[in-house]
Symmetry: C2
C-alpha cells in the first residue's frame, strides 16, 4: 500500500507543510516548505491563496492522508478563530480529494518523534533535522513541526481509517 | 445598481441564511432558511455539505455581498475554532464568487434593525417578522438573525466597498 501524507502546521504568518511517501517500506520526503500569507491582502484573498496552494499540492502528489496537530487556544481568541479558517479549508480539501484526516495532540507528535511527550520545540526540530540531514530543511519551526506531524501519522497506523474531528 | 445580499448566521446545529435583493429601490427577500449539519457525519463531510450548499446559493442568486456578524467567543474555545471552519469556507466562497464581505457587530445589527443597539434577541426577531409578515418566517433565531444581518448590510452603505476582515 502506498501512503502519501501531507503534514500541515497552519498559520497566517506562514503555514509549514511536509509531504511524505511510504512505499514498499521506503519513506521519502517528497516536498516541504512554507506558504506565507501577506497581511496586506484581504482575509478572503489570503484564504483563496491557501485553498489554491493546497488544492494543487494534494492533487500533484496524490495525497492520501492529511495530518494536523490538535490546536489549543493561546492568548488571543480571535487568532484561534482565524486558525479555524485555515483548518476548515484543509478539512474541506481533504473531503474534496478523498483524503483521510488525522489529528494528533502536540504530546503525541513529540512522543512519536523524540520518544518524549514533553519534549521542547527545539528537540523536535533537531530530531527532524537529523532524520533528513541531506535535505537541508531550514531552521524553521513551522516546517519542522509540519514534518513532525507527518512523521507521527506515518508511524501511528492505529487510527488510519478513523477521523478524529 | 442591483445588490444581492446573502446574510448568514453560521452554526453546526443549523446555519441560518437570508438572501435580499435591492433593485430600483425595491427590497425583496428572495430566499431564507436553515442548513442543519448532522453531527453523525464526519467534520470533513459536514464542511463539504456547507461549501456545496452556499456555493450553489451564491451562484443561483448571483450574490454580490456576504454579510456576517462579528463572532465573540462563548464558553467553549473549541466551538469558537469550529465556527472558524464555517466562516473560513464562507470567506473562501466570497472570494471565489467575487462577493464583497461585510462584517457587523451584534450591536450594529441590533441598532440597524430595532433602532436600539442593546436590544434583546427576541426584539430583533419580532422586528424581522413584522418587516416580512407575509413570508411566514419560522420562529427561529438562526433564520431571523440571518435576515437581520442582511438587512443591516442593506441599510448600511458606508462600508460597501470595504472589507473589514
Amino acid at each position: 500500500m502506498k501512503r502519501i501524507i501531507l503534514g500541515v502546521d497552519p498559520g497566517f504568518t506562514a503555514t509549514g507543510f511536509s509531504i511524505l511517501r511510504l512505499e514498499k517500506g521506503q519513506t521519502t520526503l517528497l516536498a516541504f516548505g512554507a506558504l506565507p500569507l501577506s497581511s496586506s491582502l484581504p482575509m478572503e484573498a489570503r484564504l483563496a491563496l491557501f485553498y489554491t496552494f493546497f488544492n494543487e499540492k494534494i492533487a500533484t502528489f496524490s495525497v492520501t492522508e492529511v495530518a494536523l496537530e490538535t490546536p489549543f487556544m493561546g492568548k488571543n481568541a480571535q487568532n484561534f478563530l482565524k486558525l479555524g479558517y485555515l483548518r476548515g479549508i484543509l478539512l474541506l480539501l481533504s473531503h474534496q480529494h478523498g483524503c483521510v484526516v488525522r489529528e494528533f495532540t502536540p504530546r503525541q507528535v513529540k512522543l512519536a518523534v523524540t520518544g518524549f511527550g514533553g519534549a521542547e520545540k527545539d528537540q523536535v526540530m533537531r530530531t527532524v533535522l537529523r532524520l533528513f540531514p541531506r535535505l537541508g530543511v531550514p531552521n524553521r519551526y513551522d516546517i519542522t513541526d509540519a514534518i513532525a506531524v507527518s512523521l507521527c501519522a506515518l508511524w501511528d497506523q492505529s487510527a488510519l481509517y478513523k477521523s478524529f474531528l
